[in-house]
């Protein structure tokens, strides 16, 4: 296979530095109270066990937004789970993709967070929609560093 054919253009990579320890970032992405602050008020339910569900609901719990499965869980370094966007019928009909969170400790009291959203090849609607990770992740950085989320998008 040629190099060009191996390239999966449906991988998205997001990377940022956060003034926090590896553990603080891990806590922020797994603690439902903190997730609600940076992820559109989502209510997350999970036991963090590999093979178990990682579900999220709308703030009033009336709608399930995600019914993901945890594929890898290695605190405070690495979390991998499937991704399906149930909040939109067209996206929900697309195959599941995959989200990988990597947290690395950095000198100077920083953590480097890398989010890789891949296996989006058969899911173009989801791929376009999850470009919103930029907003979510910069919001996450603000929540960790200041305790408060960004003002809501008007």
């Amino acid at each position: 296979m040629s190099a060009a054919a191996e390239v999966d253009t449906t991988t998205q990579v997001y990377q940022l530095y956060i003034k926090a320890s590896q553990e603080e970032v891990w806590d922020a992405i797994t603690n439902p109270e903190i997730v609600a602050k940076f992820f559109h008020g989502a209510r997350v339910e999970s036991t963090s066990e590999v093979g178990s569900k990682l579900r999220s609901f709308s703030p009033d719990h009336s709608q399930m937004w995600n019914d993901n499965t945890i594929l890898e869980c290695d605190p405070p370094r690495r979390l991998v789970h499937t991704w399906g966007s149930l909040y939109d019928p067209e996206m929900a009909a697309e195959p599941e993709s995959r989200v990988t969170w990597e947290i690395e400790a950095q000198p100077g009291g920083f953590a480097k967070l890398t989010l890789i959203h891949d296996r989006l090849g058969q899911s173009p609607k989801t791929a376009a929609s999850v470009k919103g990770w930029s907003y979510i992740l910069s919001n996450l950085k603000t929540v960790i560093e200041t305790g408060e989320p960004l003002p809501p998008v008007v």
């Binding site: 190099a3 060009a4 191996e6 390239v7 999966d8 253009t9 991988t11 998205q12 990579v13 997001y14 990377q15 940022l16 530095y17 890398t114 890789i116 470009k131 930029s134 907003y135 992740l137 910069s138 950085k141 960004l150």
Partner: protein, 107 residues
């Protein structure tokens, strides 16, 4: 130099903006593929510019087998947007731009 300086410096160069545009169109290219996209540059030139973009966080790399893939990382631009653009995007600024367009006959 702080992070923001690195981003502005990286974006100040037209070749580096061109490389970002190419990655926007087709993310995850290897060095060889990017070289083919900008034939006017030498391999060394592409490497040098990619290094500056990577240092500024605008490009993130992932190794996959023998190949290193380059991805456009939108986060630093998002942070600059929040820091420098969002707060000026008020009604007064919009009204002035409307006035300018009106006077220049752009609409």
């Amino acid at each position: 130099m702080d992070d923001e300086d690195l981003v502005f410096k990286a974006l100040a160069d037209p070749t580096r903006r061109l490389l970002l545009d190419r990655l926007f169109e087709r993310d995850g290219m290897t060095l060889g593929e990017l070289e083919a996209e900008v034939p006017e540059l030498t391999r060394f030139g592409v490497m040098k510019h990619l290094g500056v973009l990577e240092q500024a966080g605008l490009v993130a790399t992932r190794k996959q087998g023998r190949h290193k893939h380059h991805y456009l990382n939108p986060i630093p631009i998002r942070l600059i947007y929040e820091r420098w653009i969002d707060k000026y995007r008020d009604r007064r600024a919009a009204a002035l731009l409307d006035l300018r367009d009106e006077l220049e006959g752009n609409r």
